[in-house]
Symmetry: C2
Subunit: 148 residues, 2 copies
DNA sequence: AAACTCGTCCCTCACGTCAGGGTTGGTTGC
DNA sequence: GCAACCAACCCTGACGTGAGGGACGAGTTT
């Protein structure tokens, strides 16, 4: 059995002591476990250029570093905003570019502003949805009460 | 041109004075206008047994009564709860059956309770999503601030 | 004639699911 | 000391799903 088997079950996967001694690469299953995403989803994200493994094993296994995991976590945070995968990719590279502090920040910041606007718009939409959902839930509750 | 043209735009569709003189049937376009759903969506709902026109014209046009419009409004209220069309249909008939006060209410009420539970669960999920969305939005705002 | 509607068909998005085969790495048998 | 084996893991590819969107050519209403 492989070392993975030890981490497969509830044996702690803590910082570098047992599991993956910092700097080591993990394969897709471990990434899925840590991010809560499905293997299929992670592969799908790759198909769409969102998260590309840093390496492949001899036999073709995807190998990821902490970097990719972080990227996936960001994506998870973006999801409720309802952006498409394409938009998420754009935003991710946009943020990276901004961090890289390359020349013409103007355009970048402009696009960032647009994303921010879209985000707040979506937030208000979500609030509205939530209100409707709550309303319907209480309607159901009343019906329940009525027919008791 | 149909009388609809007047109502097509923000002319109020108020109680039976101008528009559709109570008791009259309307065709799909008018229903779409009133509910804010697309024609395609309404037809799609029919395909799935959710809302069936009370009648058809000689030539096959769908004709709806206020009843159907009400049903569509209920569906609209359900949507944020994330139920599938099948579940929505079930819930709709369930509510109708309950109103009809037929025999074995026990089972019906039980199912209703399940729906209510699902609804509240979904509400908490929505709240969580909203929180994440808000969090990300402020993250974006901070980035914007930082690169100003 | 203009506006409206019909049914049919293919498209989208973000995955789920299934099939069939390959890889990894530890343990056995020789 | 090394081939065989095994379980767990992973691969690609293809098709399915849910909830519609869009386009089309033809028919209907007004």
């Amino acid at each position: 059995m492989r070392g993975a088997s030890a981490a497969r079950h509830p044996v702690a996967y803590e910082g570098g002591v047992t599991g993956t001694p910092r700097g080591e690469l993990m394969q897709i299953g471990q990434v899925a476990e840590r991010t809560g995403l499905s293997l299929r989803t992670i592969r799908f994200y790759e198909e769409n250029g969102l998260v590309i493994p840093t390496a492949r094993s001899e036999g073709g296994f995807r190998l990821y570093s902490e970097n990719e995991v972080a990227r996936l976590e960001v994506i998870k945070r973006m999801k409720p905003l309802g952006f498409s995968l394409e938009e998420m990719q754009e935003l991710l590279t946009l943020l990276a570019d901004l961090n890289a502090a390359t020349g013409d920040r103007e355009q970048l910041v402009d696009r960032l502003r647009m994303f921010h606007e879209a985000a707040t718009a979506r937030v208000t939409a979500l609030k509205k949805e939530l209100a409707v959902a709550e309303g319907f839930a209480t309607t159901l509750a009343e019906r329940l009460d009525a027919s008791r």
